[in-house]
Each structure stands twice: as structure tokens, then as C-alpha cells.
Amino acid sequence: MYKGNRSLKILTILLIVAFLFAMIFPFLWVFITSFKTTGEIYSPTGAFNIIPDNPTTKNYVSVLFEKGILNAVKNSFIVSSVTTIYIIFVATLCAYAISRFHFRGKNVLLGLILAVSMFPQMIVTGPVYNLFNELGLTNSFAIVLPYSVITLPTAVWILVTHFNQIPLAIEESAKMDGASPFQILYRIVFPLAAPGVFTTAIIVFIAAWNEFLLTITLNADQAYHTVPVAISFLRTQFEILWGEVTAATTIVTIPTLIIVLLFQKQIVSGLTSGGVKE
């Protein structure tokens, strides 16, 4: 772009390389450490070896088969998938109504959804904990319900943006042919908005996958721990077992890595469609 300005070009490239290095280095170092033996990790010089002396998979075996990380991954998949499915269903209906209907209190509803996305999660945690305790729902997958606090507002917001971009004309003709609003939504709008819905689904999935506070308070039982919580307990229980910590970190980063590499376009569109006005 900068015609003829070679030094500026080189500087730009250097900055980009430095940035990429800063982003990747923690992962890289954790990955390297996960193959080191305990002895090497805790030796004053071995700890800083770039290539492990005696590469071992012992850390992985121990984390996978003894520390129940696989169970946490399974829990995370269940919780995130269920959350994604029902939130998409609820949010689609709500976003469609906001995008297409006139109704009293629409601005109140929009303001409410925006407010919910802003307030600190800590404020709902106490009462929801009491509610779940009374209903006997702690330590169960019912936790997907309060996950709506962190996922529903974003989902509705992104979907409204996408629905607004779909022309009304097609719906008008469908309506003339006698289709009900539900039919219009699921036969016409939903397929047309499929890319937007998919984007929303990925954002919701990632948000649910990363949730920490609700799980650590409502599901204290290890059998129901999701990945973030299970990993955090790895530290408190085995404060100095960095070999296992790094192996577990590597394992749980893989699903995220796959999602990001496959769906980066959708993620970026989801992140920006809520924020930036067209």
C-alpha cells in the first residue's frame, strides 16, 4: 500500500510478526511443557528447555484417565449444545417479533435485553443459587437455564440485525398465500437467515463453553464440572503439577482451535454485527 516506502513496510511486517508471536507464544510454551517429564519441569535449567530432553506422554495419560478431564469435556459438550439449541429457538422467535411486528413496549423489551447483557453476572448468582437449592436442581444439567443470562441477549441482538436485512417482499407473498407467522418464520425467514443463525449459534456455543461463575457455584459436584471449572480445580488441587496442567490445557484448547479455524468468518461477523451500525 505504502508505495515505495520500504522501511515502513518492513516495520509493519515486524509489528505483525511480533504480535503473532505474542499471541501464540503462551500456547506454544504450554504445548512444549506438556511433553516434559516432571523432573525436567522442576529443574532450574530444564524448565526453560525449548525442546524436551525425554519427550513423554505421561502427563496426557494421567490427565485423561485419572483426573477426569474427559468427563469435563463431555459435560461441556452437553451443556453448550443444549444451551445453543434452546437459546437459538427462543432467540429466533423473539428476534423475529422485534424485527417484524409492531407492539407496545418494544423499546422497553430492547432496552431490557441490552441491560441484561450489561449487568454483572454476580448479581443473579446468589438468588439463582438459592432457587436451585430449593428446587434441588444444583449439581444437574438444569444449569443450562441460567446460562440464558449470558447468551440470550447477544443471540437476540445478532439475530435482529440479520432478520432486518431480509427483504419483506417474500414474506408478503407467502402471507397472501395464507401462511401463518410461524410458517413464514420456519419455512422462509429461517432458511434465508441461515448464515446469521449459524453465526449466532457459534457465538452462543463459545459463550456457554467458557462460562465459569455459574458452574462453580451451582454445580459444586465434580461429576458436573465443565472444562473451565475442572481446569481451575487442577490448579488448586495439584498446585505444582504443571505437567498435568499444561497437558489438560492443550487438550481443552483443541476443540476451540477447531471451531475457530473452521468458522472464523462467522465468528467475526457475529462479533461485529451486534456492535457496528451498517
Binding site: V124, P228, V268
Partner: protein, 405 residues
């Protein structure tokens, strides 16, 4: 044209309304209510919201059963017939009172007369047992006074404290420190995220190559769970075996690698670095989207008018990017203000509260000490701050959008 919504249309928003109502609105109102009570889950007398006095029938029924049984066991030990009749009278009195509550469960409201009756029984019974303990060798002489005390404890005083919780918070040094930490963390991390993020967005906007790769790479820190990121940095910061701690020591920033997480100032710096690492990409992506919306023609027009690159940045880029900047700053400021996972996993608020933010303190109060009342006061304080931040941003954003129209 848009349709008017009928009853059928209302069904569209009903599920969302129910979810928001149960898991967002109701808890907020509930938390607000908690702040007016000395509400502690681990204290039998305070484990509920009692606006007026209540009566714990479970505790009473259990206690009355044992008191009755023990009193009867003492009958053979009492030699003075006068005392025996007193004791029997007391037992009868207990039976008469207990009859009223036999079928009750949980915490109930009782009338003033019932309360008087219970209190007068408590007084006579404990006086009697004290008297007997002096005169006779009782089988349960040690346990009985404690048991009788439980009759008194069954009457739960009101734990309504009005604004005392807020008063306490205003004079609580730990709240002050947590507020200061939260503000420092928010301002410093958002500042660096914004500056680096904007720089990165500008570079990416011009870059001809590698956009896809940079985007994918920078999305990974954003996408991994914060708790996992915190743990990774925990390892890099480790005083003996962490490479970043070692690097800082080598560069002379810190005297000893162990200082990184052990000295207050550096612990805060360390958490901020971890946060900047994790969220700068997000900031950059939001700003990049804003940059890509600026028509290229404007730059051409500016350069024809003789504006150089720096003038173009300040006269064209910044004003047109303002809405995107404000939205990005709003989201990031609110996120940073309620930071929890990162600090909870990385430092747990240490050393000595140097990195304890409001949400970490609130969590410790509510789930560490089960003090829901005071914990909610701290949460409410946070809520007010978040509301103020949001209102300020929305005001600026609103006037900005109006200017544009």
C-alpha cells in the same frame, strides 16, 4: 409493511420474556432485597429474610422432645416433694405448649401471646434447672440448660437491618480497596487494549497479505475459556519455573522471579498483561469492522486536498470511527469492570487483596462466608457503577448518532 402484533405474536416473545424474568429480573430484585437483611446461610437465626420475628418449629419440636424426656428422667433424682411438683408442673406446661406446634414444619409466624408464653416458659424452666443443679445431682445437669436455651433460640429475631449494610460497605476498607483495584484494572487494561487494538486494526486494514492468518491466530486467545487462559499465565508467571517471570527477572523489571505474583504492584501488572493478551484481538476486530465501513473515496478526496497521512487519520479516520470505538470501549469497559474468572483463577485476589476486585470480594463473601446479605451489598455497588458507566457511554453514543443524522 410491519404488522401489528396480536395475541399470537405475543407467543413469539413469551419464551424469551419468561427466561429473562426468571433468571435476570427476578434475581436482580431478589439481590436488592438481600441487601436490607443480615442474611447468612450458615446461621440458623439468619438463614432467611425475616422482616418480623419468626418461630423455628423444627428446632423447637426437636428440643421440646428432648427437654421433656430429660426432665422426666430427673424425677427420681428430686427428693423434696415441693420441687417434684414444680418439675411435674413444668413438664405439663411444656406438653401444653408443644401441642400447638406438633404438626407444624419449618419457619412460621407466631402471635405475641404465643411468644410471651414461650418466653415465660423458657424463663421458669431455666430458673428451675439452675436451682436444681445447685441442690441435686442431676443426670443431665450439663445438657439441660443448653437444651432449654434452644427453646429461646427457636424464636428467630428479625434480621432486617435497613441501610446498615450500605453503611458498613462505605466504611469497609476492603470494599474501598476492591473498588480501587477494579477501577485500576479496568482503566489500564482497556487503555492498552484500545491503543494496541487500534494500531493492529489500522495495520490489518492496510495489509495485503496474511489477513486471514492474523484473524485466525488472534481469535484463539479470545475463544479459549478465561479460566484456561488464567491458568496458562499462572504457569508462565510461576516464580521458580515460569518463563515470563524468568524473563522479567532477566530484563531487570523485578529483582526476583518470585516477586511477579508476590508483590502487590506486579501482581496487578501481571493480571493486566494476561487480560490485554486475551482481549486485544476482540477490540482489534471490532475496530477493524468499523474501519472497513469508511468509504475509500474519502481518503482519496482528503489526499487531493493535500492532507497528509497523519491529518487523514485525525480528520477522517477517527471521527468516522467514533461510533465503533465507543461501542468497543463500552463492551470492554463493562467486561473489565465485572472481571472474575481471570483474577479468581490467577491470583484469587492476592497477594493480600492487591488484585481483589469487587466481583471477587463479593464472591468470597457470598460463597466463601455464605454472607449473602453483605455480599449482595457489594454486588449492588458494582451494579450501580456498571449502570453509571453504561449511561455515560450511551449518552455520548446517542448524541454522536444524532450528530450524524
Amino acid at each position: 409493511m410491519k404488522r401489528k402484533m396480536g395475541v399470537k405474536g405475543f407467543l413469539f416473545i413469551l419464551p424469551a420474556l419468561i427466561l429473562i424474568g426468571i433468571f435476570s429480573l427476578w434475581p436482580v430484585i431478589q439481590s436488592f432485597t438481600y441487601t436490607f437483611f443480615d442474611y447468612r446461610l450458615n446461621d440458623q437465626q439468619k438463614s432467611g429474610l425475616y422482616l418480623s420475628e419468626r418461630f423455628n418449629t423444627d428446632l423447637y419440636n426437636e428440643t421440646a422432645f428432648y427437654v421433656g424426656m430429660f426432665l422426666e428422667q430427673e424425677i427420681p433424682n428430686i427428693t423434696d416433694p415441693k420441687d417434684t411438683s414444680k418439675l411435674k408442673q413444668t413438664i405439663d406446661q411444656l406438653r401444653a405448649i408443644s401441642g400447638q406446634y406438633e404438626d407444624q414444619e419449618g419457619v412460621i409466624t407466631i402471635s405475641d401471646e404465643q411468644k410471651e408464653e414461650l418466653l415465660s416458659f423458657y424463663k421458669t424452666a431455666s430458673a428451675l434447672i439452675n436451682d436444681f443443679n445447685d441442690k441435686y445431682e442431676l443426670a443431665n445437669g450439663e445438657n439441660l440448660p443448653l437444651l432449654i436455651d434452644d427453646i429461646n433460640n427457636s424464636i428467630i429475631p428479625s434480621n432486617f437491618i435497613g441501610l446498615d449494610g450500605y453503611k458498613k460497605a462505605l466504611s469497609d476498607d476492603r470494599v474501598g480497596l476492591a473498588l480501587k483495584n477494579t477501577i485500576v484494572f479496568t482503566v489500564v487494561s482497556v487503555f492498552f487494549e484500545f491503543v494496541i487494538g487500534l494500531g493492529l486494526a489500522l495495520i490489518l486494514n492496510k495489509a495485503i497479505f496474511g489477513q486471514g492468518m492474523i484473524r485466525a491466530t488472534s481469535l484463539i486467545p479470545w475463544a479459549i475459556p478465561t479460566a484456561v487462559a488464567a491458568l496458562m499465565w499462572g504457569y508462565l508467571y510461576d516464580g521458580s519455573y515460569g518463563i515470563v517471570a524468568k524473563l522479567f527477572e532477566y530484563l531487570g523489571f523485578i529483582e526476583n522471579a518470585t516477586d511477579l505474583l508476590q508483590s502487590p504492584g506486579w501482581a496487578m501488572t501481571a493480571t493486566i498483561i494476561a487480560d490485554v493478551w486475551k482481549t486485544t484481538p476482540y477490540m482489534a476486530l471490532l475496530l477493524l469492522a468499523g474501519l472497513q465501513n469508511i468509504p475509500k473515496g474519502l481518503y482519496e478526496a482528503a489526499s487531493i486536498d493535500g492532507a497528509n497521512k497523519i491529518q487523514q487519520f485525525f480528520r477522517v479516520t477517527l471521527p468516522l470511527l467514533k461510533p465503533a470505538i465507543l461501542v468497543a470501549l463500552l463492551f470492554r469497559t463493562l467486561d473489565a469492570f465485572r472481571v472474575f474468572d481471570l483474577i479468581f483463577v490467577l491470583t484469587s485476589g492476592g497477594p493480600g487483596g492487591a488484585t481483589e476486585t469487587l466481583s471477587v470480594y463479593a464472591y468470597k463473601l457470598m460463597f466463601g462466608q455464605t454472607n449473602f446479605g453483605y455480599g449482595s451489598v457489594v454486588v449492588m455497588l458494582m451494579f450501580v457503577c456498571v449502570a453509571i458507566i453504561a449511561i455515560i457511554f450511551v449518552r455520548i453514543l446517542g448524541t454522536n448518532l444524532m450528530d450524524k443524522n
